[in-house]
Symmetry: C2
DNA sequence: TGGTCGGATGAGAGCGCTCTCATACCATCT
DNA sequence: AGATGGTATGAGAGCGCTCTCATCCGACCA
């Protein structure tokens, strides 16, 4: 099984190396009998192509880079990171491509990774990064390196991306609250200059509008995706709007803080105030009461990113139009709303 | 910056390709002035070696495989997975090696991955897998492929591994409970045929022994690392030992279940029963009350695994003795104990 | 001064594969 | 029968690098 080359396969099948190669790569222009002979030889020998030789000769890479910018890793949290990798690696496992993980933790790394990609050491890149001002996506696009972003692309950047339906998910959450008879449905937002923060707020607006309810500024408080921030925002909301009876919080972690604030204020959840979070993190399940929340298909996101990247690589006629793909979210109803 | 080969560097430096290569690879037997000339050329040209060509010519791989067996991914949970990758990839980023993630989700994958590694398509493998009966580690060791396991190695397998100090962590937890004056300290264990389950139980025994307390079987209930399992085990414990005043639960998730059982039984935490978990997962923080727990240095674990693997690869005199490395755990005191 | 030794360097042969061409072959058409 | 076209195949030139040898040159010794 160990070392055996194309040459060996060719010899055993009684053909030339070129023909054996043809069979392996799609097998166009090969007579059926010849192909069968080669395939048999491959099976008997347990042949596996040498990846290095292959990509050297073809001057293309069989590697897909997953670039993780450190701030992203921190903010999105590990589950997000791990699940995305799982999705992408799972999909790529069925192809000839391999997933290599590139971590960017400082400027030296940034340069190294950028050079690596620009020199075409990977077929393309999957970018995980929250920073909207990260220059890497633009460099790659300009250099014609195939890439796919996780999360909505920055304005003005024509690049393929896959995102969870933040707007739709938030809308769903609000609709759910309204259906429970809530009329004063407030929201704790994420930072508004981050796409998920802005989008979930937009979804809240949409949900209220659909229900014919007003969305005054007094029902909006900005958090920062941390637990403490969620708590502070909820407290402000409670002060401004004592009539509050529904609360959509743009992340589970913030919702945990909001739950504290509500408890402290003597409000029962969900009797007095119904709460819906976002993310369906582990924390949502362990909250008290368990949090109704919006689940994002993170693993699917990783998978789709990989899929779209390969499509882009395959159709490398340069002019491949950037695609945007929005993955449906799903409301998980628990006790809090 | 883009394509420029060793040949270009050599030409610019006025030397032969061989000499340029020497400078890049350790630079033995090269005159100081020559070396400087080559280094200058490299800098000016922004040269980066072609990985494929390199590993083809040297017939070695610059790739480290991280093999994730699916059951492991599920059981350990995503945070474990993500953090390990982060640690390993972070460390490897500073070397010439790259981390490729290989997911094993079925038999086809198993064969593919095994063949991949046996054919030396990677310099070595980092193995993440809970199944003690997984045949992969043994195959690799037998074939002389460098590898490092996450978690204690199965008995009889001479292989390097890195593990968190499950015994010590559990001991610490128990000692903490005893120091709070608890005398009837029970434990909810993981499955005993899993190393972490067995080791944490051993730590519990150790802690009690050190405190001069007895450890009757009535204080032990087996869980399965799930929340429901933890709840059931705690209920059993409460039934058997109404005098229970301390509880060490071998995972946070199970501790969440135990907390439910205690609440239902009308016991206050920590007043009536003090509880300590294990893992310091996100859930621990959001539990009610926030869980005192044992934190494992997962990211360090990934980093050390990578480090030990490279050491093994470097010292490939075959007879490299397997190393075991145990990473210290750390008690995080919150409200539950 | 001739001989010797050792370190610096260059020449060149691959590593295992892909891919372009040229060639051989057969069928079809005039 | 000769011309034409299309398809299956083989020959061979690299891809960019490493590594073994042979070579060269200056230093040192007798």
């Amino acid at each position: 099984m160990s070392d055996c080359t194309l040459e060996d396969v060719a010899a055993r099948a009684g053909v030339s190396r070129a023909t054996a190669s043809r069979v392996i790569n799609g097998g166009q222009r090969v007579a059926a009998t010849t192909r069968r002979a080669v395939e048999a030889a491959i099976a008997e020998l347990g042949y596996t192509p040498n990846r290095a030789a292959r990509s050297l000769a073809a001057s293309r890479s069989d590697t897909v880079a997953l670039v993780v910018s450190e701030p992203a890793g921190r903010l999105f949290g590990d589950p997000f990171f791990g699940q995305t990798i799982r999705g992408a690696a799972g999909f790529l496992g069925a192809t000839d491509y391999q997933l290599v993980v590139l971590m960017v933790q400082g400027d030296a790394d940034r340069v190294r990774v950028e050079r690596h990609l620009l020199r075409r050491n990977a077929a393309g890149a999957l970018l995980l990064s929250t920073r909207r001002d990260d220059p890497l996506p633009r460099s790659l696009v300009d250099a014609g390196v195939a890439c796919v972003l996780a999360g909505r692309a920055p304005d003005g950047l024509a690049v393929t991306y896959v995102d969870a339906d933040n707007v739709g998910g938030a809308r769903q959450a609000v609709t759910h609250l309204v259906k429970q008879g809530r009329r004063a449905v407030a929201t704790v937002t994420g930072p508004r200059d981050m796409a998920p923060g802005a989008d979930r707020l937009a979804g809240w607006h949409l949900g209220l509008a659909e229900a014919g309810l007003a969305a005054p500024a007094s029902l909006v408080a900005e958090g920062d995706f941390t637990r403490a921030g969620g708590r502070a925002a909820a407290e402000a909301l409670l002060r401004r709007r004592p009539d509050l009876d529904g609360l959509f919080v743009a992340s589970d972690l913030m919702a945990l803080g909001a739950l504290e604030a509500l408890r402290q204020a003597g409000r029962r959840v969900p009797e007095d105030v119904a709460v819906v979070g976002f993310d369906d993190s582990e924390a949502a399940l362990s909250a008290d009461p368990p949090l109704t929340t919006v689940r994002q298909p993170i693993e699917d996101l990783g998978r789709r990113m990989a899929e779209l990247l390969l499509a882009q690589v395959a159709a490398d006629d340069g002019a491949a139009a950037p695609t945007a793909e929005i993955l449906q979210t799903h409301l998980v109803v628990r006790a809090s709303a």
